[in-house]
């Protein structure tokens, strides 16, 4: 599989720069997910790789060959579009074989290929239907089939599941993951849904404001977010971010915020020593707060629970910690009462700290 590399890639519309010098290298046969909120430049990046959008500055390399001036068809890429983009005047078989027919491949080969892919995607009985006669999920599968029939080295996905309803999306996500195991190709996938990103990716690239915020495996990003944005973007429910200040004498250092006062151990003390000021942003994942009424005050947070959202095995509590909103995730059968002040134990190793000036993580 060819390696795709982006070097100082920029995109401007007039004087307005939407993508600021992106550097990215994708590994062989890797599933890379570009994720970020709308308008972060992830789709633009993908479309630039595809060749549908011109490159303002920088270069795209496919196997060390600069391609930014090449037409899409010269880049050997297949793409699945957000709105399926199926040709309405062609039936499913014709849609899937369009690229092969343009290449003037022999008819027999085209038929074999189409049947093979239709088999994989469960589309065999729909081959003679027009796109208008298919359901959303089937159309999505045809769109994927169209990419699969071509022996492209790289697949590009532009938010392929965003038009499906919740149930179908989960199902298609699983199918994609299964297809991923069968088909060893480079895949670049754009989504705004962090769950899709977490479940599918070998590597996630989090983008915001036209810049790459962090890249790494889903686990790396979840456990060690590089900055405040990544921390709050990945994970549901999102990470709690609380204002705190570091105070202490020579032997005892405490993290004090409104409603809590945590005693720091040596390790934490060292980490906090690297902060640019005494004020820090304290990050705790909702799942890291453990309901423990008997926990000592120096290693716990008191939360006044306002709302409980029941989601099955888990419940998400939305609480108030002296004016700051805090979310907690815990087992549904935990006996808690709404409107009560509850105590949650905190493990210092689970805490994330962010510099208030730069928003960068303190490690």
């Amino acid at each position: 599989m060819p390696k795709i590399k982006l070097e100082n890639l920029s995109k401007s519309y007039g004087d307005f720069e939407v993508l600021h010098s992106i550097d990215l290298e994708m590994q062989d046969a890797e599933f890379t997910v570009l994720v970020g909120p709308s308008g972060c430049g992830k789709s633009t990046t993908l479309r630039m790789i595809a060749g549908l959008e011109s490159v303002s500055a920088g270069e795209i390399y496919i196997d060390d060959k600069p391609v930014s001036k090449l037409e899409p068809k010269e880049r050997d890429l297949a793409m699945v579009f957000q709105d399926y983009a199926l040709y309405p005047h062609m039936n499913v078989a014709k849609n899937m074989s369009f690229a092969l027919r343009l290449e003037k491949r022999p008819k027999k080969e085209i038929n074999t290929k189409v049947n093979e892919v239709a088999e994989i995607l469960g589309l065999t009985e729909f081959l003679h239907r027009k796109p208008a006669e298919l359901s959303g999920g089937q159309r999505q599968r045809v769109a994927m089939g169209r990419a699969l029939t071509r022996d492209s080295s790289t697949f590009l996905f532009d938010e392929p599941l965003s038009n499906l309803d919740a149930k179908l999306r989960t199902q298609m996500r699983a199918e994609l993951a299964m297809m991923r195991q069968r088909v060893h190709k480079n895949m670049i996938y754009v989504t705004h849904d962090q769950i899709e990103a977490m479940t599918l990716a070998d590597r996630i690239v989090v983008m915001h404001g036209g810049k790459i915020q962090q890249e790494g495996t889903p686990e790396q990003l979840f456990k060690h977010p590089a900055n405040k944005f990544v921390a709050s973007f990945l994970g549901t429910p999102p990470m709690n971010l609380l204002q705190a200040s570091v105070q202490g004498t020579s032997d005892i250092t405490s993290l004090i915020g409104s409603g809590f006062s945590l005693r720091c151990d040596d390790n934490t003390k060292q980490r906090l020593g690297r902060a640019s000021s005494k004020e820090v942003l304290l990050g705790i994942r909702p799942c890291d707060l453990v309901f423990d009424p008997s926990a000592p005050e120096a290693s716990s947070i008191d939360i006044n629970v306002v709302v409980s959202e029941y989601v099955g095995a888990q419940s998400v509590l939305i609480g108030d910690c002296s004016g700051q909103k805090v979310m907690v995730e815990l087992k549904s059968d935990t006996p808690i009462g709404l409107g009560e002040k509850l105590r949650f134990a905190v493990d210092l190793d689970d805490l994330h700290f962010f510099d208030v000036d730069t928003d960068q993580a303190i490690v």
Binding site: G51, L52, P72, K73, M79, Y84, F98, A132, R139
Partner: protein, 312 residues
């Protein structure tokens, strides 16, 4: 239940409907009936439906292409067959060329970015607002005197040798001359109508085709064109109808061999003797091609062509 049983309307409603039907169908019915009458029956003023039907008028009209001799006619003066073929050639060729040029121009105006695009788009239709009568004199002059090939020149000489005739080879009096004017006349409207269809083709489809390896022309012919078929059909009906019916420009630009049916019918009225029966018969024959063409073209106009292309 009121959905299945038609509600009884006010009698005035039926009166109006009948009146409208008579207004719409009446003249055609009269023409049809009269085309089967002899001139004496038509002009005698008795009217009515009691007469001896005859196809003599049609025979007279088509005398130059009928395989048999006519008893009632000594000399076939009316060259309806020839004019009919002229009309067909001119209408079909000008329609086809207008559509080909029009759809490409419309696509360029909608999809490509270039300087003066909006101005070009806005002014195309303005050109259509110029009445043909205004065009008549300058076009006549140009076609007769300017756009000519010297009869001693290479191509001009060849044409004169092959097809005969006298003088320089000019556009006036040729099929091409009339076709050119019709294309120029119909193009603005066709571009305008096709623009609105092309705008509706999702851009993603074109992008998908490009990703599939289609070049600009393949994107246009294999993806865009099939999707704007209803627009093409509508434009074709419009163009064909205009080219088929046009009288003014054709009367000035055609000669004896290239005249179209409308010209022929009008010329058939002489000062002292109007052959009503023949005029009615030629009128009926004139109406047939556009009807067939419209029936054929309108089958292409199916709404919801783009349904299911992208999420809808």
């Amino acid at each position: 239940m009121s959905n299945t049983i038609a509600k009884r309307q006010h009698p005035g409603f039926y009166a109006i409907v009948v009146m409208l039907i008579i207004m719409a169908v009446g003249p055609i019915a009269i023409m049809l009936i009269n085309s089967f009458k002899l001139d004496v029956d038509i002009t005698s003023g008795t009217g009515g439906l009691i007469f001896m039907p005859t196809i003599q008028n049609y025979e007279t009209a088509l005398c130059d292409i009928l395989p048999y001799e006519l008893d009632h006619l000594d000399y076939c003066a009316l060259k309806f067959g020839g004019a009919f073929i002229n009309s067909l050639v001119i209408a079909i060729v000008s329609t086809v060329l207008t559509l080909i040029i029009g759809c490409m121009a419309a696509y360029a105006l909608v999809r490509f970015k270039f300087m003066g695009r909006d101005t070009a788009s806005a002014t195309t239709l303005m050109v259509r607002m110029v009445p043909p009568a205004v065009l008549l004199v300058p076009v006549f002059g140009l076609w007769n005197n300017e756009f000519c090939l010297d009869k001693d020149g290479l191509i001009g000489g060849f044409i004169r040798e092959t097809f005969g005739g006298r003088g320089d080879v000019c556009l006036a009096g040729t099929h091409s001359g009339i076709i050119l004017v019709y294309i120029a006349m119909n193009l603005p409207f066709v571009i305008w109508i096709l623009q609105s269809f092309i705008v509706q083709v999702p851009r993603q489809l074109e992008e998908a085709a490009r990703m599939d390896g289609a070049g600009p022309f393949q994107v246009f012919f294999k993806v865009v064109l099939p999707l704007i078929k209803p627009g093409l059909a509508a434009a074709a009906i419009f163009t064909f109808r205009i080219a088929w019916n046009e009288y003014l420009l054709a009367s000035a630009l055609s000669d004896r061999d290239t005249k179209t049916v409308p010209i022929l019918i009008v010329n058939n009225m002489s000062e002292f003797n109007v052959e009503w029966g023949v005029i009615m018969a030629t009128g009926m024959l004139l109406a047939i091609p556009p009807i067939i063409f419209t029936l054929f073209a309108s089958r292409q106009i199916i709404t919801g062509m783009t349904a299911g292309a992208v999420k809808g």
